[in-house]
């Protein structure tokens, strides 16, 4: 918690004949982060992949192609296959699969193409239903030119200007006039020109087939349905293959991925003609386990050593380490940047502050319940990955929203307890609530703006102070005490001093009293702030004076905690009053305006709250995150670490 996992640098050296068992051992352990060897020298070169590498990746490639063609997705299953069995059947099974699947797949493509072709012909035949000719009559003449197409105007009238020596058939297709014109070839130029100038003309070529259109169509339809049947049959066969082999394919995919990884591992090693060296990092707590396992599997013939020498911080891989509940918040950290090794990992702080800010912003029992339920649903749907983490974050935030909903006394904007809002007494459905610990409950946000505003500033000051303290610690570790005081101590003094001074100054300014120069708190605050500024200038140079106003804007920025909540509460209130007072209970009488009006009111109520809920999920989430990233992280967080990616694989479908 708060710090990344401690890492130890290890170097492993051995003779080349031991390389394979060493690789298998590390792969099974899944704990060594291997540093790529990149500086080639005379004696040491980057290693070459083990022999089976190219064959394995070839298998993997064809297997992935088959997976795609069959549409196989990962399944939840128990490990069923032993690696050894898989290996023995691999060659034969993959080649059979490839043959079976790709030949069927090709045939399906072919059939698809033929169906498309025939369907095109069908659609081009249909218009000719309107004409009393069989399809062969439209082509095959020596001295006659045939024109067919759609046209809207009276063709005969225009043709009479050219010649009377023609034959014209006219019919109808889908309410458009279709014609077939047979004319001696001598007139074809003139007719061509006539048709080109006619805007309503669109050409339609008759397909080169024989027979009456309906008969031809009938035949074609039969052919198409036969093809479709065949297609379905092949598809069913593929489906059977999929059912039969999917377990094997998934297991083989995993096995091959593992073997390829292992075979390609030497690419990260330094190798000489007879030896190899692996350089890497391992979580310090796991070192002993690794050592024991390695010696067991190699008979103690491999040299293994810890390197105690101080390493460059950026080269150390970072593994975040947090308790189960704070783990999802690592997602928010990784979205920003992976912390450097030795830097504070703020996931545990986010675990508290993110849902807290979210809860105060949303602060409504009804919305809170919906958010919590939604998060729970997503969590059960997605068991791993980013969405699962996000759902957990949302779940906690939803619960906090419910708690603050009770404090603010809001249920979908309706008061839970009796409360006075904007000068109007609103009866709550749970009646009056007695004061708790001397505080008048509930605290309605629209009624207590001033005090809640001060509260948000207080939250902001504490949050920023915490950020500065973490920053102080980071600087202390990295650069020493003096630097930490200059860089972060100065800011703490400015913040504390500024708060004290302004706390005394503000009431005086608003009530037009003289500045309380004699007040000891004001004096202490001012002195502290000025001392802080001097320290800051001494440490960071004169230009840093420009940065001083940012601390004020940082604190003011926390007023968004109230602002987002106010707007959400305001919208809910408006929706409720609008639908209740105007539609559902006009003049204080239930359904006083009739059932239709009341239904309109219900629709308004529903849509209004839906919109507000969507805004209510997005707004608080974003703004709570922004307060973390912009106001909090900038005080201490640098990031730029390298993620810890151990060499290995978590087996899901296969066993060693």
């Amino acid at each position: 918690m708060l710090e990344p996992t401690k890492m130890t640098r290890v170097v492993i050296a051995g003779t080349k004949d031991l390389m394979e068992p060493v690789i298998s051992t590390f792969h099974n352990l899944n704990m060594l982060h291997i540093t790529d060897y990149s500086e080639e020298s005379e004696t040491f070169k980057i290693g070459k992949p083990l022999k089976p590498a190219s064959k394995m990746s070839e298998y993997l490639l064809s297997l992935r192609a088959i997976t795609n063609q069959l549409g196989i997705k990962g399944i939840e299953s128990q490990p069923t296959s032993k690696s050894r069995e898989l290996q023995s059947r691999m060659d034969e099974k993959i080649s059979t699969l490839q043959k079976e699947v790709s030949s069927r797949f090709d045939e399906m493509r072919n059939i698809e193409f033929r169906i498309k072709e025939k369907e095109d012909i069908v659609s081009s035949i249909k218009p000719f239903f309107g004409l009393p000719l069989s399809l062969e009559s439209y082509s095959g003449y020596g001295s006659i030119k045939v024109y067919t197409g759609f046209i809207d105007t009276d063709l005969e009238l225009q043709l009479s200007k050219i010649t009377n020596n023609y034959e014209l058939f006219i019919g109808e297709h889908e309410k458009r006039k279709i014609f077939a014109l047979f004319i001696p070839i001598a007139f074809s130029d003139e007719v061509q020109k006539l048709l080109q100038d006619e805007r309503s003309y669109s050409e339609l070529k008759a397909p080169l087939l024989k027979g009456n259109p309906p008969v031809v169509l009938d035949e074609l339809s039969k052919e198409i349905s036969a093809l479709k049947q065949k297609y379905a049959q092949i598809k069913a066969e593929l489906e059977n293959i999929k059912k039969e082999y999917s377990e094997f394919i998934i297991a083989a995919d995993e096995y091959l991925s593992i073997e390829t990884q292992k075979a390609e591992a030497p690419l990260k090693f330094a190798t000489s003609p007879n030896a190899f060296i692996i350089d890497g990092w391992v979580p310090s707590l796991k070192y002993d386990e690794m050592e024991k396992e390695l010696q067991k599997n190699t008979g103690g013939l491999v040299y293994l050593a810890k390197i105690e020498e101080k390493a460059n911080e950026e080269d150390i891989p970072v593994e975040l380490e947090n308790p189960l509940m704070a783990k999802p918040f690592e997602l928010l950290i990784d979205t920003f940047a992976t912390p450097k090794y030795g830097e504070i990992d703020p996931a545990a702080v986010l675990f508290i502050t993110f849902p807290l800010f979210y809860g105060i912003m949303l602060g409504d029992v009804g919305y809170g319940i919906i958010v919590t339920a939604m998060a729970y649903f997503i969590k059960t749907k997605f068991k791993t990955g980013g969405l699962n983490s996000l759902a957990l974050i949302l779940f906690l935030s939803g619960i906090l929203s419910i708690i603050f909903g009770f404090i603010f006394g809001e249920f979908f904007g309706f008061p839970i307890f009796n409360v006075e809002v904007l000068g109007k007494m609103e009866p709550g459905f749970l009646g009056a609530l007695p004061p708790i610990a001397g505080i008048h409950m509930p605290i309605h946000r629209l009624g207590e703006v001033q005090s809640l505003l001060l509260l948000t500033f207080a939250i902001g000051i504490m949050h920023i102070m915490l950020g500065l303290i973490l920053g102080f610690r980071n600087h202390l570790i990295e650069h020493g005490l003096k630097h930490a005081i200059f860089a972060k101590g100065s800011w703490m003094m400015i913040l504390m001093g500024g708060v004290l001074a302004i706390a005394k100054l503000m009431p005086a300014v608003t009530s037009k009293l003289p500045v309380p120069t004699g007040d000891p708190v004001f004096i202490v605050g001012s002195v502290l702030a000025v001392a802080g500024i001097i320290l800051l200038i001494a440490g960071e140079g004169f230009i840093s004076i420009l940065e001083i106003p940012t601390i004020l804007s940082n604190v003011l920025s926390y007023s968004r905690i109230l602002a987002i909540g106010l707007s959400s509460a305001g919208i809910a209130l408006v929706v409720n009053r609008l639908s209740m007072d105007l539609f559902i209970k006009p003049h204080g009488e239930l359904m006083g305006g009739g059932i239709v009006l009341a239904l309109v009111g219900v629709v308004i109520l529903f849509i209004g709250h839906l919109i507000n809920l969507l805004l209510g999920i997005l707004g608080p989430g974003l703004h709570s995150l922004r307060l973390q990233y912009v106001e909090f992280f900038t005080k201490f967080y640098e990031g730029g670490g390298k993620k810890y990616i151990p060499f290995g694989y978590k087996r899901k479908y296969t066993e060693e």
Binding site: T335, V449, Q450, L453, L556, S559, A563, L622, H623, R626
Partner: protein, 76 residues
Amino acid sequence: MVVADAGMIAIGAGIAVGLCGIGAAMGEQAIGAAAVGAMAEDEKFFGKGLLMTVIPESIAIFGLVVALILLFVFNV
């Protein structure tokens, strides 16, 4: 408190919120366009892009703070 003064304060609060909103919107439109562009290149930019886009929203919040102070502190 004279009624006219209360009115002026309300107008002042309105101007503070309104102008700050316009300012924030102008900032966000440029950043938002750039963020969408960056996201088209690399989807991983979504988180950072979203964040960058909401940064100018502070300006709107400052306007709100000024308005609230006007309404609740000076309007006594």
